[in-house]
């Protein structure tokens, strides 16, 4: 019997982002923003007659890619002769901002340089925001898609993963309860996990 997937015998892994893609109905503004304002090289474009999917009346389109470093690209689909469906208009408000792209830079100086570049090109850009392990600036593209440029403040350690797993385990318990309404409930539920971890590590000394 032919082994169709020998790699499945070991641990599968991914190797970073190849591309992300979104639709646009603003071809010129999108090209000018990504290529000319951000300076990301336009590196690839696919053009096709509806991909042959006549039954769903798939529009003819251009699918084009900008180089965003480390062999990753950000890509767009422009569906010729179509109107933007209302459900694909980016909503206002913080919830829709969760759907964003964050690019990495290496240093604070680079982050500052990007902030200045964007400001000089007339793009509204946020101040630096320092999170737990990231420092970021935020802005929007002409499609109102949220974008972020970030730098890592420290490497992620094994302890971060341990902590993340306890957070998610506590959260899953609360979600299953159907009565979860606040972060305070999560923090209180998580304390049980952390206490148990400490007791297992130091049965006598731990709180």
């Amino acid at each position: 019997m032919t082994n169709l997937a020998p790699s499945l015998s070991g641990r599968l892994s991914l190797h970073g982002v190849d591309h992300t893609a979104r639709p646009t109905w603003k071809l010129r503004e999108t090209v000018e923003f990504y290529r000319d304002i951000l300076g990301l090289p336009l590196v690839h474009a696919i053009t096709a007659k509806g991909w042959g999917r006549e039954k769903e009346e798939h529009a003819d389109f251009i699918h084009f890619f900008f180089d965003s470093g480390n062999e990753s690209t950000i890509a767009f689909f422009y569906y010729i002769g179509t109107q933007q469906p209302p459900e694909l208009v980016v909503p206002r408000g913080y919830m829709a901002m969760a759907n964003h792209t964050a690019w990495r830079v290496e240093t604070e100086e680079q982050l500052l340089a990007w902030q200045k570049r964007l400001e000089n090109k007339g793009v509204r850009v946020s101040q630096f925001v320092k999170h737990e392990i990231l420092e970021s600036i935020y802005f929007r593209d002409p499609n109102f898609y949220p974008l972020e440029i970030t730098r890592s403040l420290r490497d992620m350690e094994e302890l971060d993963a341990v902590d993340a797993n306890m957070t998610i385990d506590a959260a899953l318990t609360l979600e299953d309860s159907g009565r979860w309404t606040s972060i305070e409930q999560l923090w209180r539920a998580k304390a049980d996990f952390v206490r148990k971890r400490q007791q297992e590590a130091e049965p006598v000394a731990a709180s």
Partner: protein
């Protein structure tokens, strides 16, 4: 016993330092990656005392809480012991 857990990573060390200066907090040594900051009555920690930015401040109890939040603003947090169940009754 009431208190909160603080993950032993650099971004939360300002919170530990503020707790160490707090007369009503007792900071335990690190065990399995977390410090326990113990209190036995209502306490208030001011953000100014920690020097934390807001993004980290509003997540400062992410290590876990044995107690309840009586107020949480961008300026300060007040915590107190509780026997109330996590999900209410």
């Amino acid at each position: 016993m009431s208190g909160f857990y603080v993950l032993d990573v650099p971004e939360f060390s300002p919170l530990v330092r503020a707790a160490q200066q707090h007369e009503r907090c007792r900071v335990h040594p690190v065990v399995a990656g977390y410090r326990y900051v113990e209190f036995d009555c209502e306490i208030e920690i001011k953000r100014d005392a920690t020097g934390l930015g807001e993004a980290v401040w509003f997540g400062c109890l992410t290590g876990g809480l044995d107690g309840k939040i009586t107020s949480f603003t961008s300026e300060s947090i007040r915590l107190a012991p509780t026997n109330e169940p996590v999900l209410g009754v």
